[in-house]
Amino acid sequence: MHLYAGKKHQKYILNDCPNDSLLNAIGVRNGLEVSVVTKQPIGGPIIIRVKKREIAIDKSLACLITAKAVN
């Protein structure tokens, strides 16, 4: 599944991130464990939590990231 389809409060492992310089710079990469905080309506970004950081990722990009649910 892609990250944007993720459910709130569920944890995911990212297993395929596009090679985007902004994503790289902010440290979003394969193998990262994230949880979904919230999604914004009308095409807004998804907000994920990585450890204690909160990161907003555009819908278009989040749709390109493949993720797997974990417990």
Binding site: A25, V37, I55, I57
Partner: protein, 577 residues
């Protein structure tokens, strides 16, 4: 961020140690800078660019060093103007680098640390925001981190002045240059270091963390936004009225005006010259009354509210919340920050768009701000003019402004080729801002406003007094009669607004105060003034940042819009009222 430019410290003693204070944005660099330096801080513009930075002297036991607050950056790849400036500052030589790290975002911060190690300059590290880290359940082994980085690391809580003294002392000790770390993959290395030095425990989630989450969830975020907006309006509009009524107006009306009038009437006999000084548009009267008693309170309170929101970390959350809506006008949500800044002054707002954004985005934001966002001085003028008559009239003018932003935004998004970039944003910690840093910031902004506004204001008022007292205004009024009286249904004298509005935007509103206008006329005059023309300093920045063509295009559209909207509003309101 600043309208105003000064030269770097000219009287710098020879041979003094040069220290660069560097770090990612939002790590608390300004607070550390303020704690280390005294009051003699200057804001400077890096040569040839509009990136500003601060310089100040650090004093310790009779020694002095020059501390330079380099703009906040994520790396040294010259990806933005700020990064280019940082690289140039490094290349022009430094005796020491103080690299500030955010304890809550160590992994990302280490990238800049690695970049800095490629320069042969001794480096100290500061691990700031350690109180926030503790609150979040993060502990960092400073000793181990120092081993990894092969340099001293100081743990600080800048806002509470914790760790600052030890840091200050060590700035004056000799530090050897260390060989750079051997790094194959910086992502892996920063991850490895962070994992080894950090321990995370579960802590009870604090109020600010919970508030942070509420701010970005639509269901709670939108009510919070409404509360913030109402509070901001209450403070600016209500507080401004209070300040004026209780302090400034009595001072000006009861003391300053009678004093000045008596003084001048005592020395100068009845003449045109005396009227120019203390008559209807008396320069000596208006030059104090308009900026100080009518506008200044609003400008001051705007910057109080804005600086608080900026330093608290709320604005990026607002950007995330508004992203969906902003995309409809072709902008990623974080552009809300230059927008809000534009309600203060368009100049820093336009400069602020440099750091982020593609050219297409910049043109959209900058056009919308220059056309339809009133600056605080204008807002103050509107409140003075309309607020006392009818709060609905005031709301109506702002409604027109919003409507224009929306329509013009939709149009520009259609007209300009290309797509806006995706939004990727790390949310900074939500914090209680530091009072001292905040006051200094507001003070600097007020100083700039007074310097920037006073001279054009004075010249504008001088021009007005001259035109009115010599009767030339009559001739101009007759010439502009078809437009002002025929189309806008304003009295002939209102053409003075059009003349003064060229000098400064709020000056287009002020002359209307002195005329006995109906509510519809007040609204019409305000709508015309809302658009009219970008003020001179905005126009200059537009030419510098874009091209003359774009600057002229923006000026022309707001000019045409001013009269079109003014006339239409007048006709419609006169039909219904």
């Amino acid at each position: 961020m600043d309208c105003h430019q000064t030269k770097p410290l000219g009287n710098r003693p020879e041979g003094i140690k040069r220290i660069l204070l560097m770090g990612n944005p939002n790590v608390g660099k300004s607070v550390i800078f303020n704690r280390l330096t005294g009051l003699d801080v200057v804001t400077a513009n890096y040569t040839g660019t509009t990136v500003t930075y601060h310089e100040g002297l650090v004093r310790f036991q009779g020694n002095q060093a020059l501390l330079i607050d380099v703009p906040g950056i994520y790396g040294l790849n010259a990806q933005s103007k700020a990064e280019e400036v940082a690289v140039e500052m490094l290349n022009s030589g430094a005796d020491l680098i103080v690299c500030v790290l955010d304890a809550t975002h160590l992994e990302r911060n280490l990238h800049l640390a690695f970049d800095l190690q490629t320069y042969d300059i001794p480096t100290l590290y500061v691990l700031n925001l350690s109180d926030v880290a503790k609150r979040k359940g993060i502990t960092i082994d400073v000793h181990l981190l120092s081993k990894y980085l092969n340099a001293p690391v100081f743990e600080t809580v800048a806002v509470k002045n914790i760790g600052i003294d030890i840091l200050k002392e060590s700035l004056f000790k000799p530090h050897p240059v260390k060989p750079a770390l051997k790094i194959l993959d910086r992502h892996e290395k920063s991850q490895e270091i962070t994992e080894n030095v950090t321990q995370e425990h579960d802590v009870e989630i604090g109020f600010l963390e919970r508030l942070s989450e509420w701010c970005i969830k639509p269901r709670t975020g939108i009510p919070i936004l409404i509360i913030v907006l109402l509070a901001a309006l209450g403070i600016i509009v209500g507080g401004g009225k209070g300040l004026r009524a209780l302090i400034l107006l009595p001072l000006v009306n009861n003391y300053y005006i009678p004093f000045m009038t008596n003084l001048i009437e005592g020395i100068i006999p009845e003449s045109v010259f005396r009227n120019v000084l203390v008559g209807e548009f008396g320069v000596l009267i208006k030059v104090i009354e308009w900026p100080f008693a009518l506008i200044l309170p609003y400008v001051f309170l705007f910057y109080v509210v804005f600086s608080f929101l900026e330093d608290s970390g709320y604005l990026p959350r607002l950007g995330v919340l508004m992203d969906g809506i902003f995309r409809k006008i072709g902008l990623p949500g974080n552009n809300i920050i230059p927008f809000i800044l534009g309600y203060g002054c368009a100049v820093p707002a336009i400069l602020g768009t440099r750091a982020s954004g593609s050219r297409r985005e910049r043109i959209i934001v900058v056009s919308l701000i220059s056309i339809a966002v009133p600056c605080t001085a204008q807002t103050g003028a509107f409140i003075t003019l309309l607020g006392d008559r009818s709060i609905f009239a005031l709301a109506f003018v702002y409604f027109i402004s919003f409507l224009t932003i929306l329509l013009a935004g939709l149009l520009l998004n259609r007209l300009l080729k290309g797509k806006s970039r995706p939004l990727i944003l790390e949310l900074p910690n939500l914090l209680m801002p530091d009072f001292k840093t905040l006051s200094k910031k507001i003070w600097i902004k007020m100083k700039h406003f007074i310097y920037e506004a006073q001279v054009p204001m004075f010249l504008g008022i001088l021009l007005a007094a001259f035109l009115v007292e010599t009767g030339m205004m009559n001739t101009i009024g007759t010439f502009l009669e078809p437009l002002v009286v025929g189309w806008l249904d304003l009295p002939k004298e209102a053409s003075l607004s059009l003349i003064l509005g060229v000098v400064r935007r709020e000056l287009a509103v002020m002359p209307l105060l002195e005329m006995n206008l109906t509510t519809v006329q007040l609204i019409t005059g305000s709508v015309v003034a809302l658009f009219y023309l970008p003020c001179i300093s905005v126009f200059v920045i537009l030419v510098k940042e874009f091209k003359v063509k774009i600057a002229l295009l923006i000026a022309l559209s707001t000019f045409v819009l001013a009269f079109a909207m003014g006339g239409i509003v007048q006709i419609l309101l006169n039909l219904v009222m």
